[in-house]
Subunit: 185 residues, 2 copies
């Protein structure tokens, strides 16, 4: 496992080597691997004290990296390159390549952010991630619904008890009043 590297390395050194020849510079890029957050480990729904902290800071790193590098630096570079060459034979579709690379990069960052938010991920591929995301959203919806209905039920019980207590207080007051009147006689 010597090819392990972090997520933000995907956004590094994007300036040179933009030749239009296809499949030439493809071998220098290792396959990305995801940081070992909740890989193949089934968590119960109650273990969210430590992992949440780690994942939150991780998502913040992603967000900072995304809003700093992608949206300003690369786009300005693209603008400059575009104005230099109006229409040539081979250097024209280079910015298209870079734009596409940027789009892919952004999409992958969103995937990483999603991976940081969704627990109980069963697989490492993107399809499994999306599947688990749908499952998790439905689960959360059900939980919220259950908690809400339980809260409503308890609230109804509490209101009923409040009425009961008010009634009992009225009875007590009446008894006290009668007792006092009875004593005055």
């Amino acid at each position: 496992m010597e090819w392990f590297y972090l997520v933000s390395m995907t956004c590094s050194f994007r300036s040179g080597s933009g030749l239009a020849g296809y499949g030439a510079m493809n071998s220098s890029k290792p396959r990305p691997v995801y940081p070992p957050i909740q890989n193949n480990i089934i968590f119960s729904t109650a273990t969210s004290s430590t992992s949440t902290t780690v994942r939150s800071s991780f998502a913040e790193d992603i967000k900072l990296e995304e809003s700093d590098h992608s949206n300003i630096d690369v786009k300005a570079k693209l603008k400059r390159k575009r104005q230099k060459k109006p229409t040539h034979g081979r250097e024209e579709p280079m910015n298209h390549v870079e734009v596409e690379r940027l789009r892919r990069e952004k999409l992958n960052q969103r995937f990483y952010a999603l991976r940081a938010v969704v627990p109980n991920i069963t697989g490492m591929d993107k399809a499994s991630l999306l599947e688990d995301t749908v499952r998790y959203i439905n689960e959360l919806k059900l939980n919220a619904e259950n908690a809400e209905s339980k809260k409503d039920a308890v609230q109804i019980q509490l209101n009923k008890l409040n009425e009961e207590i008010a009634e009992q207080n009225a009875v007590l007051e009446f008894v006290d009043e009668g007792e006092e009147q009875w004593r005055m006689i």
Copy 2:
């Protein structure tokens, strides 16, 4: 807007025309557009009676299509094609193409399913979808947490009131008993 078509059209007619020449049959495929479910309309969190039904049936369609077509039919076809040609000049990487197509298709179905589950989608592209998904998950988490804590608070109040009522009942019983004894004298 005459190029509007449904989602399940992406999964149709995948059998023939697998030539290795690139970019030939690409012009007959229009740009995919997503069904008009909650597009640019901001829903509040309380409107989930009609839209949920529509989205649920839609997700079921996706699920059925995926588990029927992708996992059995195409894979069996790939197995047969693979055993026929061991190593040839041009027909060998065709199954790779088809496998890749299948993978892309599956991933897109997951994207559609996610789009059916997540409300308040701000953009039509995949990156925005994932961004809104993360936002929605955090929102749901917060909602569940709030409902749970509210439920706990109301439950505590109810327990306190129950104790109070029991105490008052004891007092009443004591008063009744004393009154009875006082009357017997």
